[in-house]
């Protein structure tokens, strides 16, 4: 048995991309191309030289903004995509050479709730996928009842999935991933689109699964989720893993930094340059809150006392004014800002 549950070495995934249309006098030039004619493709690198070693029994969080390469990494690991170069092994099996053995070792939840059949009942869905996962019928029957019980769906197991709430559908999707009791679970944004209660229940289940000994690779762009669930976190941006450590160690990296969070009314994006030019400001990230022209400013500095008067002076300028202000402990979001100069939501 391999020492690691998941290993990736120099994993790269490039996608062919059509060249953007040329512009002429501000208008896009429409070029005629013959159908099926091969046009010289340019490539977009979605995953760029990723190296991972995930221990058995650990929850590993892959944290990054949308389009960072998290889902592409998961799709390569679960054999839906083939890497352009590099290798990946799941449960000791090579994802390209031994895809069937990889699929037998994995339970995967991809983002979105439409990965089950809405015209089948919850139980029929699980029976169907149990057959696809080659689980012997007597074992499958027992396992399905066990999972329906665990997910509190027994009473509604014989109703069509189309009648379920979003949270219930997600629990069926989770049950599908757990059917074969696989040692390794891949969860791609498991709480995306769920209401707070359903998201909390999903997080509880993830922690229960860890206690049972499952190895879990979880992608998320919710920093609180990554912080709460993960033993270790890999921060991914533009296809590269830019930091990898425990949540506490990642936050300790910027412990000398302080974070000033401000809410400013009437803020204009062009004012950012003036605030950033204040000596001692290492990072500034702004976000429109959408209420009463209010913006949120996140300032990173080594000495908040020294820069505060100047920042307040710049903010209370020409009709803009400070509405609220806090000095906070760094979060994983601040780690990301510190590493990339932008927020996770960008």
């Amino acid at each position: 048995m391999s020492e690691y549950a998941i290993e990736a070495e120099h994993l790269v995934k490039k996608f062919p991309r059509k060249a953007p249309a040329e512009e002429q006098n501000g208008r896009k030039k429409v070029k005629f191309t013959w159908p099926f004619k091969r046009t010289p493709a340019s490539f977009f690198t979605a995953v760029d030289d990723v190296n991972l070693q995930i221990e058995r029994g650990e929850i590993f969080g892959l944290l990054g903004p949308n389009g960072a390469g998290k889902s592409t990494t998961i799709r390569m690991l679960c054999t839906l995509l083939e890497p352009t170069s590099g290798t990946a092994r799941v449960n000791g099996y090579d994802t390209v050479r031994e895809p069937a053995l990889v699929r037998q070792s994995l339970g995967t939840v991809l983002a979105g709730e439409r990965s089950i059949y809405w015209k089948l009942t919850g139980r029929e869905n699980l029976e169907y996928f149990a057959a696809l996962y080659h689980i012997p019928p007597d074992v499958a029957r027992k396992r399905i009842n066990e999972l329906l019980e665990r997910m509190e769906l027994t009473a509604r197991a014989n109703e069509l999935v189309e009648k379920y709430s979003t949270g219930m559908r997600q629990r069926i999707v989770l049950s599908r991933a757990l059917l074969a009791r696989p040692p390794i679970l891949l969860f791609d944004e498991p709480t995306l689109g769920l209401d707070p209660q359903a998201a909390r229940r999903t997080r509880e289940i993830v922690l229960e699964l860890k206690k049972e000994g499952h190895t879990i690779l979880l992608t998320t762009h919710y920093m609180e989720e990554a912080d709460q669930l993960s033993d270790r976190i890999g921060i991914i941006d533009q296809g590269k893993i830019i930091a990898l450590d425990t949540p506490a160690s990642l936050k300790r990296r910027i412990n000398q930094q302080e974070v000033i969070k401000m809410e400013v009314s009437g803020w204009k994006p062009e004012m950012a340059e003036r605030v950033q030019s204040i000596q001692g400001v290492s990072n500034l990230v702004t976000r429109y809150l959408g209420v009463d022209s209010t913006w949120e400013l996140n300032l990173h500095t080594e000495n908040s006392r020294a820069i505060l008067p100047r920042v307040i002076e710049q903010v209370n300028y020409n009709g803009t004014h400070l509405v609220n202000m806090n000095i906070l402990e760094p979060t994983l979001e601040d780690v990301f800002i510190n590493l990339t100069g932008k927020a996770l939501r960008d």
Partner: protein, 295 residues
């Protein structure tokens, strides 16, 4: 892979998944019943099954009525060319076989697109089941629904037009069975096209139209120009229609159709092999390009 239960209740390094020939057959059967449940849970199919068997041939039948003349004088010429005076039966068998071949072909080809639309293609393909089974598994359901369609056609035409069929059911069944490999093979090739081209409707309409013209669904091949006749001899639906007409209208024994059936089986071997190779190549290319989940 060794089972390594470390503590009571802890997950093992090996999952409950046990691949075997029996497990593969169970997976195939699961795809079939999934498809059947989807078929019966969209009840609008009943309307299609009542209306289509009569609606589709009706336009050709009306055309035949008008061409035959008020006293049916044109029928003599039709009999000379086709060898049967039962022009209603001739048209109905042609259109029904065309519909059946069409359904087999396109449903096999489009099954992946349907999965894409449902959003379930990737969750299926993440399982250890062979990806061919997801295309093949829907076949029995399509065959069963077409049997129902044929039954509805026969009942409706006897009821509304008094059409007589002099069928050899055994031969007809063998014709249907011998047609399947070729149609599945074509379906595989088409499924590959759906993976790579993502949008399949243009191809469906183009090929459906070509088959409709070249395979003689309502007229004998001899009315076509010579070059069209040579193209049509290479198309499996032409052979299927010819053999089905002989079995359904002339009570042809199996022995009289040996050459057509052999030809169909050869087509089947060629198209199945070609479809398998194409499907494998294009499925791998889709995994490389990342075009599997998008449509």
């Amino acid at each position: 892979m060794q089972s390594t239960l470390t503590n009571e209740g802890l997950v093992a390094a090996r999952s409950l998944s046990r691949t075997s020939l029996l497990a593969h057959l169970r997976a195939f059967w699961a795809v079939t019943w999934r498809e059947w449940y989807h078929f019966v849970r969209y009840p609008t199919w009943v309307i299609a099954f009542v209306i289509w068997p009569i609606l589709f041939p009706a336009m050709y039948i009306m055309g035949a009525f008008s061409l035959a003349g008020p006293q049916g004088t044109g029928i003599t010429r039709f009999t000379e060319v086709t060898g049967t005076a039962n022009y209603l039966g001739y048209i109905v068998v042609g259109t029904t076989v065309w519909m059946w071949a069409n359904t087999m072909l396109w449903n096999t080809g489009l099954v992946l697109r349907e999965e894409r639309m449902r959003g379930t293609l990737e969750s299926n393909w993440m399982s250890p089941t062979s990806r061919f089974f997801f295309v093949l598994g829907a076949g029995p359901v399509h065959a069963a629904t077409m049997l129902m369609f044929v039954f509805a056609t026969v009942v409706e035409f006897r009821l509304f037009f008094g059409t007589q069929f002099n069928a050899n059911l055994g031969t007809l069944l063998v014709v249907a069975l011998c047609s399947m490999p070729a149609l599945y093979g074509l379906g595989f090739s088409f499924a590959s096209l759906v993976i790579t081209a993502r949008e399949a409707n243009t191809f469906v309409f183009l090929i459906r139209g070509l088959v409709m013209i070249f395979c003689g669904i309502t007229y004998p091949l001899s009315v076509m120009p010579a070059w069209m006749q040579s193209v049509s001899t290479w198309l499996p639906p032409t052979i299927i229609i010819r053999a089905a007409r002989a079995a359904a209208l002339n009570n042809a024994p199996l022995s009289s159709l040996t050459s057509d059936l052999t030809l169909l089986l050869i087509h089947g071997a060629v198209w199945l092999s070609l479809g398998y190779i194409l499907f494998t190549l294009i499925e791998r290319s889709a995994r490389r390009k990342g075009s599997l989940g998008s449509y």
